[in-house]
């Protein structure tokens, strides 16, 4: 790997880290997502600075082509994230449903109260 590609990798991952920290600062995500993306950003940064660590790790596990390790980890992570998002989405849906139900009940109760008042 040439020095230029390594610098490119480092710069790209620094941009990623900085972007995530800035979004955190602006309160664009909550703590639980922040931790996850910070970990990802730091791993990417480490790999960019010491590309050889990926090769060593692949050898250790017995994977012949180091990039395959990277792809494997990335795919597992992506699947994990999308499962987690489906879970969050389902939770949000049930919360919204509950809010709508409560709102409807409140509306009825207020209407009944107003009717009572008009009758008296």
């Amino acid at each position: 790997m040439s020095v230029a590609t390594q610098i490119l990798g480092i710069v790209a991952s620094l941009v990623l880290v900085a972007g995530i920290i800035e979004m955190l600062r602006r309160r664009q995500f909550t703590e639980k997502y922040a931790v996850m993306w910070l970990v990802v950003a730091v791993i990417v940064l480490v790999l960019a600075i010491w590309p050889h660590s990926l090769v060593d790790l692949a050898n250790l596990i017995g994977i012949a082509i180091p990039t395959n390790l990277l792809f494997f980890v990335a795919i597992v992570f992506t699947v994990g994230v999308s499962v987690h998002q489906s879970w969050e989405l389902s939770r949000l849906e049930s919360e919204t449903r509950k809010l709508a139900e409560d709102l409807a009940i409140l509306r009825l109760e207020i209407e009944e109260k107003l009717k009572d008042k008009a009758d008296n």
């Binding site: 955190l24 703590e31 509950k98 809010l99």
Partner: protein
């Protein structure tokens, strides 16, 4: 006398909340008590109402921060002069609310803290270190001496109320750590008052080493997050005017 609202966040506290509310009325006959039922699955709301409290029933569980925020919003909408958080589990002694309120005369946020001499509360290991670091850092941020920053026993004055109604953190530990940072950034004066924390009426606090290590990590992260976050402090955002509500 100032209008004071006692906010009691309660999640599945049917065993304790009734006694807590009665005790508050016994100690402070002139206050209003608002129990915020944080999406409980037990009879918390009914028990609290029977004890004479007003009850906000949240349809979904929002956590302590979310429940307190609902309480602060209610306080702002109904033009209260102060709101005091008293936990439903009975660890905050309502008699000491007076000590907190007395300090509101010259401060905007008063925290009731356990002192080494006062109150029997034992902490050790990672949790203790976390509390130490938090105390040192937050003392600098708030420019006042704080020995314990994780106490929920707080009195919020007129200046801080709209700030908290709009910005009170809802994340884990945010209601203790980040809330102080927000108040400090909003120019509020913070003081602490020694109090006795009591043993909880129901439920047991967790003290396993793994849990306190996780606590240490999360507290540290929450602290860093609170310090680097940008706070566009708006005090009277979209809470309607009290007159609108009363009409």
């Amino acid at each position: 006398m100032d209008r004071v609202l006692i906010v009691v966040p309660a999640w599945n506290e049917e065993e304790a909340v009734g006694d807590t509310v009665r005790e508050i009325f016994a100690a402070l006959p002139d206050v209003d008590v608002l129990v915020v039922d944080d999406g409980s699955t037990d009879r918390t709301a009914r028990v609290a109402r029977a004890a004479g409290a007003m009850v906000l029933e949240l349809p979904i569980n929002l956590g302590v921060g979310g429940a307190m925020r609902a309480g602060f919003r209610y306080a702002v909408r109904h033009d209260y002069d102060a709101a005091v958080q008293v936990d439903a589990d009975g660890q905050h002694n309502p008699v000491e609310v007076k000590d907190l309120l007395a300090e509101l005369g010259h401060a905007d946020l008063v925290i009731g803290v356990r002192f080494s001499g006062k109150g029997a509360y034992h902490v050790a290991g990672p949790r203790k270190w976390a509390m130490k670091v938090l105390a040192v850092v937050l003392s600098r941020v708030t420019k006042t001496k704080l020995t314990d920053t994780t106490s929920g026993f707080k009195a919020t004055g007129r200046k801080t109320l709209p700030l908290f109604a709009e910005n009170y953190p809802t994340e884990y530990l945010g209601d203790t750590i980040e809330a102080l940072v927000i108040a400090a950034r909003g120019g509020c004066k913070i003081v602490q008052v020694p109090v006795n924390m009591r043993v909880r009426r129901a439920g047991t606090p967790s003290h396993s080493p793994l849990k306190s290590s996780i606590y240490l990590f999360r507290a540290g992260f929450a602290l860093v997050l609170a310090l680097i976050r940008r706070w566009d402090i708006k005090s009277n955002a979209d809470t309607p005017l009290p007159t609108e509500v009363k009409a």
